[in-house]
């Protein structure tokens, strides 16, 4: 490499030495190598730590991914040939981690029934159902118990309120004990049994939670269980699980609930036992968006309003920004610097805070606008359906024009003055110059930004949530949708408000929204190519 070439030169001149030093600095040498080894060492150390942590949780897939990625990263940065990969790797890793993975996972959830009542696996649902079906036998006393062990089999040593001492295990019902060791009125030991200390009880929690000592040979008499290792209670279970048939039977009513493939034990009359479990349900969520009456109605006008909101927001902010940019670009304007600083202010505040402040200012009876600016008028800025839409557009104009002003200023200044001069010499009027020369040139550089601004506003959740929260509510529909809800805030309400969550439906909606935005962006970018031909 360069270093070697330089060193083979027998008599380096001063300039050559200087060049060698520069080349050395540029290409690294041993110091760079050291830094590289240290940095990669840190990466590897973290990866190994991560692998150990994951090992404890049996996350084999993630371990594999981390191992492979780490090996590839090491190979790329130690290899002498992978120059493009050295630049691309970090970006690609982030792309996969934060975009592809998230998108893929959302899509997967969109095909499941994940939501309230369908939150975990079938095993978890069964165990949750079984444990909540346990009912303490009415009027049964609190029993003092000690956990005892006989050759690895756990048992309960039960002292009844009348002083009787009994012992039993999962398989053998309670039996009278002779000569128990007593501590006060509580039996703490029996011949042939080892009593567990509290620490041993804690250490064998799993066995103790599944310990249910039958009170007698008749299962209907119930079983003694101990939730805390010190007191026991007599329980009967209302549900019986048949693992082979996959059925749950309600012992009190005799109703049989079967796994019919809908993610919950279902009775013949359609009644479901909750919790159920998470299953893949195919296109159902996507279908529901269009078939379910209560969603379809609001969905149509929410979609229309979302388009109107995004398009009008982009148009108004762009034209106001452009207008101000042209005005402040004029040399005759005095104190432009200060005005420009003022223009940037709305952009400098966090937008959700601004939206909150605006919501306060627009309060019908106490807001600044009604009270101070309009002298006590009660204009229902945020509570009238139409006015609330207008208010949202006004606030978004306030929040959005500084950005447009900035990019337009930049773009205008990049248009050479010669073009204007030449046009003036040719006798063109200022409006014609603007319309026929400046605007098209401007659009070449601004159009992609307008498209991304449209996509941003299409999903401008912050503004809607903080300003009106979608309100005023449309009381004519049966789902909690308001007149100013856009698609993304509607998705939020479907998924996260109330006590029933529906992550599956919300994910399906997000995928649909993603597709809509993507299609619009693709079409728009194709159109903008036509603009570029102007150059």
């Amino acid at each position: 490499m360069i270093d070697d070439d330089v060193r083979t030169d027998p008599k380096p001149t001063r300039r050559q030495k200087q060049a060698a030093r520069m080349a050395e600095a540029a290409s690294g040498g041993w110091r760079t190598l050291l830094v590289k080894i240290v940095l990669l060492g840190i990466v590897d150390a973290i990866a190994i730590y991560g692998i150990f942590v994951l090992l404890l949780h049996d996350q084999w897939l993630v371990i594999g991914v981390i191992a492979v990625v780490t090996v590839i990263v090491n190979w790329i940065y130690f290899s002498r040939t992978q120059l493009p990969a050295k630049y691309l790797t970090p970006g690609v890793i982030f792309l996969i981690l934060f975009q592809v993975f998230v998108l893929g996972y959302t899509a997967y959830i969109g095909f499941t029934n994940y939501g309230t009542g369908h939150n975990g696996s079938k095993e978890q649902a069964v165990s949750a159902l079984m444990s909540s079906a346990l009912e303490r036998v009415p009027d049964s006393p609190t029993l003092q118990v000690s956990v005892v062990d006989q050759a690895g089999t756990l048992g309960l040593l039960v002292t009844e309120p009348d002083g009787d001492v009994l012992v039993g295990t999962n398989d053998s019902p309670l039996e009278q004990v002779d000569n128990p060791q007593m501590d006060g009125d509580k039996a703490v030991g029996a011949d042939g049994w080892t009593t567990l200390s509290f620490a041993e009880v804690i250490a064998r929690t799993d066995q103790i939670t599944s310990l249910a000592v039958p009170a007698s040979d008749d299962p209907n008499d119930g079983a003694v269980r101990t939730p805390d290792g010190q007191s026991g209670y007599l329980y009967v279970s209302n549900l019986q699980y048949d693992a082979e048939a996959g059925t749950m039977t309600d012992v009190t009513t005799g109703v049989v609930y079967t796994d019919t493939g809908v993610g919950a034990f279902t009775a013949d009359d359609g009644e479901q036992l909750l919790p159920g479990w998470q299953i893949v349900i195919g296109w159902e969520n996507f279908g529901r968006a269009f078939t379910e009456e209560s969603i379809r109605g609001p969905l149509v006008y929410v979609t229309i309003w979302t388009f109107v909101f995004a398009a009008v927001s982009v148009a108004t902010t762009f034209f106001l920004g452009l207008f101000l940019a042209i005005v402040f670009n004029d040399m005759r304007m005095k104190g432009r610097k200060y005005y420009r600083v003022l223009m940037i202010l709305p952009y400098a505040f966090p937008s959700f805070l601004s939206a909150l402040v605006w919501a306060g200012m627009m309060n019908e009876s106490f807001g600044f606008i009604n009270q101070v600016l309009l002298g006590g008028a009660s204009v229902p800025w945020l509570t009238d359906p139409t006015l609330a839409k207008v208010s949202i557009l006004i606030v978004n104009l306030w929040l959005g024009y500084p950005y447009m002003f900035l990019v337009c200023t930049g773009a205008l200044q990049s248009i050479p003055d010669e073009l204007t001069e030449a046009a003036t010499v040719d006798g063109a009027k200022p409006w014609a110059i603007f319309r026929l020369i400046k605007l098209p040139l401007l659009l070449v550089s601004i159009a992609p930004l307008l498209i991304s601004s449209f996509a941003f506003n299409f999903n401008n959740f912050n503004l809607i949530y903080m300003l009106t929260n979608g309100g005023p509510r449309d009381s004519s529909t049966s789902i909690a949708v308001g007149h100013t809800d856009i698609l993304i805030s509607m998705v939020y309400k479907v998924a996260f408000t109330g006590q029933t969550r529906d992550y599956g439906l919300a994910s399906a909606f997000s995928i649909i929204i993603f597709l809509v935005v993507a299609i619009i962006a693709i079409i728009s970018f194709r159109k903008t190519r036509a603009l570029e031909e102007l150059n």
């Binding site: 690294g28 780490t70 978890q124 165990s127 620490a199 408000t497 969550r501």
Partner: protein
């Protein structure tokens, strides 16, 4: 070696971050997960960040007593329930979580909480706390505090407690938070005064099949609400949200403020001479607010259930611990003996007196459908919609949603 130093540094930093990110995907909460060790064992408890300090002492002394280490993890109040529901099935949730009793329906429907046996100690708690902790006949929550709203009176402006709603409104300005979407929680005492609970109840708790909201009392309440709204006396105003109501009381503009114990601190700090009154009833029946009970749940996937049960029932349920939690949070303890001790404070005693009339907020999942329409309908009535038809539509919407 053509990669320059800066590029390498950046690349290295990226690689580190990416590896961390990947590891984080799977092991994000590994430290919060319950790791069972053979000796002593440990419990992971999720707590409201605000109550973290209140529990620290209790956790330490429990560890001293039993050798079981209690690891407290402060969580954001607004996300603690959702995080719990999502993490329990993955096995990474805590052993114990602190929460409100009205989460119960949702937690139980999702199968993430384990039943709790209070044994004979159940009788030691305030009846409303046990009622609230019970869902479909089973107790799931160890209650530690009972919260309900009451009327805060500025005793410098109005020295005597009002005898009725009209008396109160005549004596001074009354504020209660509403907001554009209404606030049924704060209006509920008035609704009960007209004899219109949301659900009828049975021995096992509220009965979702017995919807009471649309009964005759409900219509009377709606008519009354309309008469106190925009087209009537204007006592209720949907433009008054929590902040505005608070400001008016703190400024001394309003003499009465219907709110909860969580706002008393701010009023006392502002130098207001606060007295606590029962909610004055607009009828001759008492006005019962909702009681909210705070407590601790055991995760259904906890690997340390025995220790968790012991910590809750035999330790957090003792008078000393309930009192130490009270001192840190200043809400009425759920344990009757602790509640009595705490009532030495006149403000706590005031809330306790109102609480005696309170009914637990329904925790059944059907309540979600009620909240969804309830406030909106009330806000519309306050703003001049026809009370009878709006109220009947509310009852019909709720009935349809519960089906």
């Amino acid at each position: 070696m053509r990669v320059n130093k800066k590029g390498l540094l950046v690349a290295g930093a990226f690689a580190i971050a990416a590896t961390l990110g990947l590891a984080g995907c799977a092991a994000g909460d590994s430290d919060a997960g319950g790791e069972t060790s053979a000796e002593g064992g440990s419990l992971t408890v999720w707590v409201d960040s605000e109550r973290l300090d209140a529990l620290k002492g209790a956790a330490e002394s429990y560890e001293e007593k039993t050798g079981i280490s209690v690891k407290l993890v402060g969580k954001d109040t607004s996300t603690i329930k959702d995080d719990f529901i999502q993490q329990v099935p993955t096995g990474k949730g805590p052993d114990v979580v602190m929460g409100a009793h009205d989460w119960l329906g949702e937690l139980s429907t999702n199968g993430v909480v384990a039943p709790l046996e209070l044994g004979d100690s159940a009788a030691d708690y305030l009846p409303v706390a046990i009622q609230a902790a019970t869902y479909e006949g089973t107790v799931y929550l160890l209650p530690y505090a009972v919260e309900n709203i009451a009327v805060l009176r500025n005793a410098d402006l109005v020295p005597e407690a009002p005898t009725s709603f009209d008396d109160m409104v005549a004596k001074g300005t009354f504020v209660v938070q509403q907001g554009a979407e209404g606030d049924p929680y704060h209006l509920y005492p008035f609704q009960t005064a007209f004899g219109a609970p949301v659900f009828g109840s049975t021995d096992a708790g509220y009965d979702p099949t017995d919807l009471q909201i649309g009964n005759a009392g409900g219509e009377q309440f709606a008519a009354w609400l309309g008469s106190q709204g925009k087209n009537g006396t204007g006592v209720f105003n949907t433009d008054i949200d929590g902040d505005i109501a608070k400001q008016q009381f703190l400024d001394g503009t309003a003499a009465f403020w219907l709110t909860g114990p969580w706002n008393v601190g701010a009023a006392v700090d502002a130098g207001i001479n606060v007295a606590i009154d029962t909610v004055p009833s607009p009828t001759d029946q008492p006005a019962s607010p909702f009681a909210g009970v705070k407590g601790f749940y055991v995760s259904s996937e906890s690997k340390n259930k025995v220790a968790a049960n012991d910590f809750l029932v035999n330790y957090l349920g003792t008078e000393d611990v309930q009192l130490s939690l009270f001192e840190a949070g200043n809400v009425l303890p759920a344990l009757a003996s602790a509640a009595e001790t705490a009532s030495a404070d006149p403000i706590i005693a005031g809330f306790a007196a109102v609480g005696a009339e309170a009914v637990p907020m329904p925790a059944i999942p059907a309540m979600g459908a009620v909240w969804q329409y309830w406030g909106i309908a009330e806000a519309e009535i306050i703003n001049g919609a026809d009370p009878a038809t709006t109220w009947q539509k509310l009852a019909a919407d709720v009935a349809a949603a519960i089906q």
